[in-house]
């Protein structure tokens, strides 16, 4: 089963995503895509680590190249978050690339391995601001990826202040 969870900043996506693993019996992996740059990122990482403590997740820090991950079949995977993975792939060198196909092949690879794959992404396209070209390209690519993952997913949820709203499938 594959689930995509979207929503704005600090809307309870992570907590909801983790709650969906409560009854999952297999091995659980948390793929952390956020690079620990700066105080705010480090604080966010500490907060997320604290949330996952004792929930049986093995954390794998993987900032790019998810298509290379070797994980046991039938496991549970929580990938957080697509916004970071997309930025990491897109701006990894001085030449900005479109990483959509690469990222989607990574996701397809994880989908084949996992019994339960949950991807957390980010809603960044509703503020009406015209950003400079790098940022607007990022918003476009991230949303292209979101649309294509939503197509593959069994359930798509939008979190609103911790409340899951089903966009596809049902509330779990």
């Amino acid at each position: 089963m594959m689930i995509l969870i979207t929503g704005g900043s600090k809307c309870g996506k992570s907590h909801y995503a983790e709650s969906l693993f409560y009854n999952f019996d297999g091995q659980k992996f948390y793929i952390a895509t956020m690079q620990p740059f700066g105080d705010e990122a480090q604080a966010a990482i500490r907060r997320h680590r604290e949330m996952r403590r004792n929930k049986g997740f093995e954390t794998i820090e993987k900032y790019t190249d998810t298509e290379d991950l070797q994980l046991p079949g039938g496991c549970g995977i929580l990938l957080e978050c697509m916004g970071n993975l997309c930025a990491n792939e897109m701006f990894r060198s001085s030449v900005v690339c479109n990483p959509a196909e690469k990222i989607l092949s990574g996701i397809l690879h994880l989908k084949k391995i996992a019994a339960l794959l949950i991807i957390v992404t980010n809603e960044v396209a509703c503020d009406g601001i015209s950003y400079e070209c790098g940022t607007s390209a990022y918003i476009r690519v991230l949303n292209e990826i979101n649309c294509r993952i939503a197509e593959m997913a069994d359930h798509v949820m939008e979190c609103v202040y911790g409340i899951p709203v089903a966009l596809k499938g049902t509330i779990l």
Binding site: A125, D127, I129, N143, R148
Partner: protein, 130 residues
């Protein structure tokens, strides 16, 4: 009238083409189309940008939108949701947001059906399709 809204890059144009059956060549782009053509178009996308252009040309976007509802009542309008950020510092940006919000309400009020799209997934938030 049908309003298709949602954040930027969520798949609104694709939805108009594949689900509403609007041929690609019949979709006007609010970024660069003539104002007159909007009043007879089958479908107009990026209507929020059209509003910005109307404002900078000194045309009242709300009068324009009311006229659209009367003269082109079967139009399919595609328009981003743009009001979820911080209130902009620049006055022109504030006026644009306000006009876009009010125009969106006028169109949604007139439309039989309003669809909001996130991640390519349509959710009908008003009415239904026959």
């Amino acid at each position: 009238m049908i309003l298709v809204t949602g954040g930027a890059f969520q798949g609104k144009t694709e939805y108009a083409r594949t689900q509403l059956g609007v041929p690609h060549e019949n979709i006007l782009d609010g970024e660069d189309c003539s104002f007159d053509a909007v009043q007879t178009a089958e479908c107009v996308k990026t209507y929020h940008q059209l509003i910005k252009r109307l404002l900078s040309s000194g045309v009242d976007p709300l009068d324009f939108t009311r006229r659209l509802c009367i003269e082109n009542p079967d139009a399919v309008i595609l328009m981003d949701e743009i009001g979820c950020g911080i209130i902009p510092l620049e006055k022109a940006e504030r006026l644009w947001r306000e006009a876009a919000g009010r125009a969106g309400c006028i169109i949604a009020g007139q439309a039989e059906t309003v669809v909001r799209i996130s991640c390519g997934i349509p959710v009908i938030i008003k009415g239904a399709f026959a």
